[in-house]
């Protein structure tokens, strides 16, 4: 967190929701110019136009410096959690194992979607009271819900799956 012109800007992934982190990632990987990217990030983080207009070059550099600091992500992958009275579980054994079926649905639903972080989590975490985990409406329902999860706690799933997917695709094409 960094306070600039009286506004507290979140800079750490652990301070952000999945939805916020998704929006910021989309901006970071967009083709916008450097300054344009950060203005959009400030908007995502809730800064008003007045605040953004007041920011000086030194503020931007201070934010970038803070924002770019490596954040240690949680190593342990959460087995599950409760949300709104329902239980969501990612795995039951000793450690999380990515299943082919999950990966195929991750590819199917997340390929072109801008909210693929929450969609990915919606496929990984299954509602223990639901049997049709892979129905589109069920995945979308959970994705909506998971938008508010803490990004720092769950991003390790996303990096794990993305890395696995990349390696496997290289292996498949190699």
């Amino acid at each position: 967190m960094i306070e600039l012109k009286g506004f507290k800007f979140k800079t750490n992934i652990n301070e952000m929701t999945i939805a916020e982190w998704q929006l910021i990632s989309n901006i970071v990987y967009s083709e916008d110019d450097f300054i344009e990217k950060y203005i959009r990030i400030f908007q995502v983080l809730g800064a008003s136009e007045d605040i953004i207009d007041e920011l000086e070059e030194s503020d931007l550099l201070a934010f970038v410096d803070e924002f770019s600091k490596n954040t240690q992500l949680s190593i342990e992958k959460k087995r599950g959690f409760e949300l709104d009275g329902r239980t969501y579980v990612a795995y039951e054994g000793d450690e999380y194992v990515l299943k082919l079926k999950d990966l195929s649905y991750i590819e199917k639903f997340c390929k072109k979607e801008k909210n693929f972080f929450s969609l990915m989590l919606a496929i990984v975490f299954k509602d223990t009271d639901v049997h049709n985990h892979y129905e589109e409406w069920e995945i979308n329902r959970k994705a909506e819900l998971f938008n508010n999860l803490n990004a720092g706690e769950y991003l390790n799933y996303i990096t794990f799956i993305t890395e696995k997917l990349t390696k496997k695709i290289e292996n498949l094409n190699g």
């Binding site: 990515l98 299943k99 082919l100 079926k101 990966l103 195929s104 199917k108 496997k168 292996n171 498949l172």
Partner: protein, 250 residues
């Protein structure tokens, strides 16, 4: 422990059709491979087996089914159970027309109908001559026998047939008028444009009813003679047609 096919030889015609359909239906790579794996293992994609299959284990399997990316090898079989592959030169005109119609309707699905026509029961007569059954059996029923055949078997026959047919048509190409270019020339206007459109329509009609029209002419417009013409050897019919053409008899 699942039984994973190791080569195209272990893929049946029905499995091939399913794999082909999946290949055409989506460009989502993992989803496609996942669906294809279900076909190869002969289980539904909803089978509990897939609920537990890890990505790492799945990739070991994917490595074993890499042969799917390679061309289907060819190995033409002369025999299939009590059926023998006939010499294509012995085909009757009727068999040829049926093959043409089936493959034009659906070249993929109807490959087993090609098998049903070209593989026949046989015997030798008292003089030791090779005799095949007459073309009076139910070919849809016969085709079912080939559903479980390896796709190598089916594709080998198909390739062999296409080679034969191309050579055959080349030998008799003088019998066939060139198709009119279907592309309408926008620069042509007025009466010429009308004539061009008419030519395209006539050509489409001619191609749609090409074989029927040929049989109609051969039978001297007598429908009762159709069966007799169908049972003639293909080569004889085409030789007669060539003769008529070169003599200017129509």
């Amino acid at each position: 422990m699942v039984n994973i096919p190791k080569s195209w030889f272990e893929i049946s015609f029905d499995q091939y059709l399913e794999l082909f359909e999946i290949e055409q239906s989506t460009d989502i790579e993992f989803n496609k491979t996942f669906e294809q794996l279900a076909v190869l293992l002969d289980i539904s994609s909803d089978d509990p087996y897939f609920d537990e299959l890890s990505v790492d284990d799945a990739f070991k399997i994917f490595n074993e089914i890499r042969f799917l990316k390679s061309p289907i090898p060819k190995k033409l079989e002369k025999n299939f159970n009590e059926y023998k592959l006939i010499d294509f030169n012995d085909l009757t005109f009727g068999e040829f027309i049926d093959i043409e119609n089936f493959l034009a309707a659906d070249p993929n699905q109807n490959k087993i109908l090609l098998c049903a026509i070209l593989y026949k029961k046989w015997k030798t007569d008292e003089w030791g001559n090779f005799i095949t059954e007459p073309y009076i059996y139910d070919i849809q029923e016969r085709a079912k026998l080939f559903q479980d055949c390896s796709i190598v078997f089916i594709e080998s026959l198909f390739e062999s047939w296409i080679n034969f047919k191309n050579n055959f048509m080349k030998n008799y190409e003088q019998l066939f008028e060139k198709d009119v270019d279907e592309k309408f020339d926008d620069e042509v206007t007025g009466a010429d444009a009308k004539e061009q459109k008419q030519m395209i329509i006539e050509d489409k009609k001619r191609r749609k009813w090409g074989w029927e029209n040929l049989i109609w002419n051969l039978s001297s417009n007598d429908i009762t003679k159709f069966e007799q013409i169908f049972s003639q050897k293909l080569i004889l019919v085409f030789n007669i047609l060539s003769m008529r053409k070169s003599l200017g008899v129509d």
